[in-house]
Subunit: 422 residues, 4 copies
Amino acid sequence: MSGADFPREVVGMRRALHRHPETGFLEYRTASLVAGRLDALGYALRIGPEVMRAEAMLAPPSDREIALAREAAIAAGGDGRWMARMPGGQTAVVAELRRGDGPVTALRFDMDALPVQEATDAAHTPARLGFASARPGMMHACGHDGHVAIGLAVAERLAAPEAAWRGTLRLIFQPAEEGGRGALPMVEAGVLDDVDLFLAGHLGCLLPSGQVATAANGFLWSVRQDVLFHGRPAHAAMAPEAGRNALLAAAAAALGLHAMPRHGSGVTHVNVGRLEAGRARNVVGDTARMEIEYRAETEAILEGLAERAGHVIRGAAMMQGATVEVIARGHSVSAVSDPAVRTRVAAAAAQAGIGRIVAEWPIGGGDDATFMMRRVQARGGRAGYCLIGADLAAGHHDGAFDFDEAVLEPAVRLFAALVEAG
Amino acid sequence: MSGADFPREVVGMRRALHRHPETGFLEYRTASLVAGRLDALGYALRIGPEVMRAEAMLAPPSDREIALAREAAIAAGGDGRWMARMPGGQTAVVAELRRGDGPVTALRFDMDALPVQEATDAAHTPARLGFASARPGMMHACGHDGHVAIGLAVAERLAAPEAAWRGTLRLIFQPAEEGGRGALPMVEAGVLDDVDLFLAGHLGCLLPSGQVATAANGFLWSVRQDVLFHGRPAHAAMAPEAGRNALLAAAAAALGLHAMPRHGSGVTHVNVGRLEAGRARNVVGDTARMEIEYRAETEAILEGLAERAGHVIRGAAMMQGATVEVIARGHSVSAVSDPAVRTRVAAAAAQAGIGRIVAEWPIGGGDDATFMMRRVQARGGRAGYCLIGADLAAGHHDGAFDFDEAVLEPAVRLFAALVEAG
Amino acid sequence: MSGADFPREVVGMRRALHRHPETGFLEYRTASLVAGRLDALGYALRIGPEVMRAEAMLAPPSDREIALAREAAIAAGGDGRWMARMPGGQTAVVAELRRGDGPVTALRFDMDALPVQEATDAAHTPARLGFASARPGMMHACGHDGHVAIGLAVAERLAAPEAAWRGTLRLIFQPAEEGGRGALPMVEAGVLDDVDLFLAGHLGCLLPSGQVATAANGFLWSVRQDVLFHGRPAHAAMAPEAGRNALLAAAAAALGLHAMPRHGSGVTHVNVGRLEAGRARNVVGDTARMEIEYRAETEAILEGLAERAGHVIRGAAMMQGATVEVIARGHSVSAVSDPAVRTRVAAAAAQAGIGRIVAEWPIGGGDDATFMMRRVQARGGRAGYCLIGADLAAGHHDGAFDFDEAVLEPAVRLFAALVEAG
Amino acid sequence: MSGADFPREVVGMRRALHRHPETGFLEYRTASLVAGRLDALGYALRIGPEVMRAEAMLAPPSDREIALAREAAIAAGGDGRWMARMPGGQTAVVAELRRGDGPVTALRFDMDALPVQEATDAAHTPARLGFASARPGMMHACGHDGHVAIGLAVAERLAAPEAAWRGTLRLIFQPAEEGGRGALPMVEAGVLDDVDLFLAGHLGCLLPSGQVATAANGFLWSVRQDVLFHGRPAHAAMAPEAGRNALLAAAAAALGLHAMPRHGSGVTHVNVGRLEAGRARNVVGDTARMEIEYRAETEAILEGLAERAGHVIRGAAMMQGATVEVIARGHSVSAVSDPAVRTRVAAAAAQAGIGRIVAEWPIGGGDDATFMMRRVQARGGRAGYCLIGADLAAGHHDGAFDFDEAVLEPAVRLFAALVEAG
C-alpha cells in the first residue's frame, strides 16, 4: 500500500493504521504515511532529528530492531523516502501551516502501539471485520491509531481553503508515548518553545461515548527502572551451594515490590512488567533483569516509594548473595490544564455537537504530553489535555481493547473548532 | 581452520575444541571435525539420522538456531560436507572399526558445551593462554572438550596397525548430554543393541588428578519440565486489577519450588534455571515461562518430588488467577556399573600407569549415558561408567571451570588398554 | 484510684485514661469510671447487655481474657459495681439526660486502646510527663483517651443547671471501635433507633490543631477475616517430605495478599496484621493462623479485592498441600454526613472559637460509627461525623503517637454548643 | 495414680507414660515416677542440679511454664517429693547401682514428648485403646515413652539378685532430647566423665520390627536459632507507608530459608518451625519471631548453610526496612559408635533373640546423646548408639505416630544382656 492508497475518511484511516501497529521509536510505516499525507496537503514538514534531540531518547531501539522495523514498514506500504529522514528511531513528524499573523497553536497526536497480542475471536471487532493487527505480538491496544487518524483528518480539514483560522498551526506526531520516552526529546529540540496554545488528548479512559472532559486529572508522577541482578552460576546438582541465585533474587524482588505498602494519602502503582533470568535449566540462574515502573500521585509519594523499592531490591539481592545494579529509564511528571484552555475545549466540544461536557475526568494512566504542557506553560503559553469519551470493548492495554469508532468524527470537529476559534 | 589443520596431540585438540563451544544438538563444527578425522583414520561412519531417531529428540533447536549454528561452524572451520549429513540438529557421529571376530566394544564421548560465559581474567588458564571461548555466552564448562579430545586420540591409537585387539570397536560421539537429550535418540536408533561391552566416563567430578574411579555412583533420576503461565494483560496503572499476573505467579512458583522440602531418605535437587515473563514495563505481565529440572536419588523420591511440584505450580497460578501448562522435557534414569566392567577398568587404569584406583566416586550431576548402559544391560551386555580424576580450577558449569590437562594422556591410555585387553 | 479521685478537668482526665489503656471489649476500668461519673452527674444509665446485642459481637474475648482484664481493672481503680453489669465483654455505657420535649441528640465516644507498645523515650510526652501506659504492649495510640475525656467533660457541662438545651441527650460510650466490632451490637440493640441528630468525631487524622472539618470523607468499606491453614506435621529432618507446611503456606499468602494489585479507580488497603504458625523448631509447621483486613473505597472494589484474596489464600494452601478455612470477622461500611449536620457542626465550631473550618477532610482509616450513622439515617434522622484537628507527634497506631492536648477544651465547647443549639 | 500404682510390665508402663506427655525440661511427672521407681529398686539417685549444670540449659522454661507443668504433673499422679528436687526445669534423674569393682556402664534414656496434637481416630491405636495423650497439643510422637519404659524394665531386671553382672551401672534419664538441649547440661555436670561403656538407642527410625542396627549413622550437625525482626507499627490504612513490616520480613525469610540451595556433597535440612508476627489486624506488623533449625552432614556444610542463612535473614529484613537479631539456641554434633560397642550390641541382640542384626542404619534425625558419646570417647571410654527396629504407624513427630510394642520386651533383654556381658 502506498500513501496514495491510504483512506481519506477517519474510520478507514484508523482501521488501516490498526492493522499495522508499531512500537515506540519504531513507527516507521505510520510516520512515513503521516508525512506523505501532510506534505501532500501543503504542510511544511520537520522530521526526525530536526524535531528530536537524540541524546534525550531513553532506551532507543538497537540497529537490528530498527532494520527489522524498516523492512516490515516497507513491506506494509511505508514510504522509504520519508523513512530515510528518520535515522536511529527518530520517527517524529512535525507539520506546520501558516495563515498570516496570529498565535501558534500546537496539537499533539501520539503514534505508537504496544507489545500486546491482539484477540482473535469474533467478539473482537477488529478480528471480525478483518482489520486486526497483522503483526504477531503487537497491537494498537491504547487507541493511538485513533489519535493519528484524528490528527490526519484535522490536518485535512484545516488545510481546506474554506477553513477559517489565522496564525500558525503546528501538528505534532509523537513517537513512543508508551513508556513515556517520546515527548522529552521533542521538548528538548525546542518544538514547544514558541507555542501559545497547546492541546493533547486521549480517547477512552472509561469516559463514555458522547462525552468530553475539558481536562484530564490524575496524571501520575512516575519513574522507570531496569534492575540487573548478578549472581554466580553453578551446576544445579553437583554444587548448587556454590551458586548465587539471581533468578530467585529477582523473584523475591518482584513479589516484594508489588507488596510494598500502599500510601495513606495518595495513589501509588508498581509494576514489574518484564523479568528475564537464568541461562539454562541445569545451571543456577546467575543473571536476572527486571523492567519496573513506579507511579504516584505526588512527587513526594513517588520519592518515598522509590526509596523503599531500593531497599526491597537490595535486600532481595542480599538474600541470595547477589549484587545488583539499578538503571534509570526515565520518568514522568504531572501537569495541570490551564483554565483558559479548558474553557476553549468546552466551547469547541459544544460546537462539535458533543452533548455532555464534564469538567474533569481521571486519565488513569499517564501521558508524557505533560512534559510538553509544562514547557509551554514555562514559556508563557497555555496548555491543556482533554479526554474524548469512547465506549470500550475492554480495558486499555488488554488484547481485546477496542473503542467506539463513532467518536472519531466528533473529535475531529472538536480539534478543528478549537483552532478555528483561535 | 580445516580438518587437516586440526592438531594431532590430545592437549592441542582439547584447546582447539575449547575455543569453539557448541551447545546441544548444535555441535556442527565439533561433529564435522570428528567425522573428518575418523574417516581419515579408516573408520566406517554412520551420521545424523542413521544413528539418531528424530522423534526421540526432546526440544530440538529451531531452524533458525540451526542455520546460525551452521553458519558459525563453517566460519570456524567446520566441514560442510559432513554437516550436510546432519539435518535438524542430528549431530551424532558413530565410527566403527572391525578387526575380525570378537566382542563389540562401545565407548561413548559427549561433545556439547554450555550457555555459560567464560571467565576472562588471567587467573583463568584458557584466557591467559588464549584458547578461551570465542563465542560469547558459550563455554565448555563441563570438560566435554576433553572427552572429545580423548576419543579422537583413542581412535587414532587403536587404528594404528600395531594396536593389539580383535572384534568390533564402536566410538559413539554423542550430542546434547547436558539436559540429557542426546543419548535416548541414539538408543532408540539401535546403536547400543549389539554391544557386549560399553564404557562411558567423565573427567573431574572432584576426583583429584592421578586417580580413577572404576565406577561412578550417585546417578540421579531426573525430570525436566517447561512451565507456561497464562494470565491477562492490563494497563498497570489504569486498571491493574483487571490483570492476571503470570509474572508474579512464576516468581512465587520459582521460590516455592526451591523451597520444597528435602527428603529424609535421599538426595533431591530442584532448579528453576530459566524464567522469562511479561512483555512491557507498563503492562501487567500476562505470560511466563520457566525451565525446571528435578533430580532425586530414587525413582520413588523423584515421583514424590514431581507430584509436590505440581501442587506448587498450580497453587502459584491460582494465587494470581492464572492458568498453567506443564510440558515434559525429558527425564534421566540411574544405572549401575557391572562388576565385570569395574574390574576391567581397574586393570586398564593400572596398565595406563594411573596410581590410585578407587572403587566408587559420586558423579555429582548425572549423565544420560545411563540410558545407553541400561540398554546394553537389557540386551545381555555389560556396561560401566568410570571417572577420570582431574584437579579443577572451579566447579563444573562455572565460568572459571578448567581441568588439569595432564590427565588427558593417561585417560587415552586407559581407554585404549581396556579395548586391547578385550 | 477510685472513681471519686478521677480528675475533673479534661487534660487530667485524658492523662489518667491514657495511663490505663484497655483493648476492645475489655474496657472494664474505663467503662466503669465513665459509668460512675455519669451516674454521679445524674444521667440515667443503660449498661452492657441493655445496650449491646451479644450475638452481634464478633470475636468476643475469652472468659480468661475477661477475667484478667477485670482483675487488672480492679487493681487500677476500676469500679467493680459497674463492672458487674458488663458480662462477656459487654462494656458499653449509654447515659441519658432529658430536659422536656425535644429532639433526641446522640453523641458517640469510643473507649478502646490498641495492642501497641508505647514509646518510652523522653521525646514522647506521655513518657516524659509520667502518664505513659502502665500496661506493657497496650497503648491509647489512636486518641480514644481524648475522646472519652471530651465525652465526660461534655456530659458535665450539659448537666449543669445553666446549660441551655431541651430534649433528650444521649451519650454513647462505645467499646471496640478498633477492628470495627463495637458499633454493630449497639445498633442491633436499638440504641440509635429514635435518634434525631447523631454526631461522632475523631481527633487528629492529620488535620492541624485549630481546625475542624465539618465532615470526614474517605470512609472505606472493609472486611476482616481470620484464615486458618491446616497442614501435616513431620520430623523436620527424618521425613520433611511427609509434612504439609502450613507455615510456608501462610508466609506465601501474606506476601501474596500484600502484593495484590492496586485498583485503577479507587483506594484499596490490605493488611495481614497477625500471623502465628507452627509448633516447634524441629517439626514441619502444620498449622497457621492469619488476621487480615481488607479496605476499599467502594463496595464493588472491596468485593473484587476479597474475591482475589480468596484465590491467593487457596492457591498458597495448594502450593503446600494444605487445606484452609476462612472465618469472617466482621465488616465496615461507608457513610456520608448529612448537610444539615455539617451546617450545625460549622456553627458550633465557630461558637467554640475554632478559627478555621474546612468542609471535608479524609478520615484515613475508618470508624464503625458509620453503622450508627446509617441506622439513624435509615430511621429518618440526621447523622454526621466531624474531625477535630490536632497536631500529632507521630501517626495513629504508632508507639510514639500523641496529640496536642490544647484541642480538647475547644472540642468540648464544640459538642456542647451543638447540643445547646438543638 | 501414685507411683505405687504405676504398672510393672513394659507395655503397661509405656502406655501409662504415653498418656501424660511432657515437653522438654518440664518432664516433672515422668521424672518423679522414674525416681520413685528406681529409688524403690535400691538405686542411688542424683537428681536435678546434682546432674545438670543450669548455666548450660538453653532456653529453659519460664517460671510460669514450670508452675503449670508441676501443677499438671501433680494432678496426673506425679510425686511432689521428687519434684521438689527439680527446680528450674532441671528434671534429669541419674540412678546408680554398684556391684563390686568393674567398669562403669551407662545407659541413656530420654523422657520428653513433643508439642504435637495426637490423632484421635480409631485407626490410631493409642486412641482406640484409650491411652492417647490426655494433654491437648502434646504427644509422645517420637517413642520416648517406650525408651523410659525400657529403661525402667532394664533397671528392675538388673536390680534383681539373680542378675549376673559386676561393676557400676548408671542409668541416665535425660530431659529435653528434642531440640537437643538436655544432654549438654548433664555432660557439663560431669555425669559421663568416668564412664567406660556408654550406650544410647532409639526405637523405630524406619528399621522394621525384629531388627537391630548395631550403630546408627547419619547423625547430623545442627544449629538452632531464634530470629527477631523489629519493624515499625503504623495504621494499616491511614499511613501504611509509615510502617516497617516485620511480619512480611519474616514471611520472606521463611520462604527464603527453605529455598536455600541443597548441597552437592552432603545432606542439609532447614526448618522454620515456628513463626509469630504482628500484634493486631489493623496495625502494620512491627515484630516477628522465628524458631529455626539447620542440620547438615558435616560441620563445614553446616557452617556454609548458616552463613548463607544469615544473608537470607538480613536481606529479608532490609527488604522491609526492618532490623534483625539472631539469637543462638544451641547446636548438635555428630558422633561415631566405637567398633567395640557395635560388637557388644550385636552379641547382646543375638542373646536377646533378635533375629536380624544390621551393621548400620540411618538415624534420620539426630540425638544429643552424641554430646555424651563424645565426652565418653574424649575421656578414654567407649560409646555407641544402636537402633531398635520397630514398625511404625506413621512417621516420627506425626500426630499418628505409634510403634509396634512387641519390640519393647526384646529391647529390655538386649540392654540387660549388654550389661551382664560386662
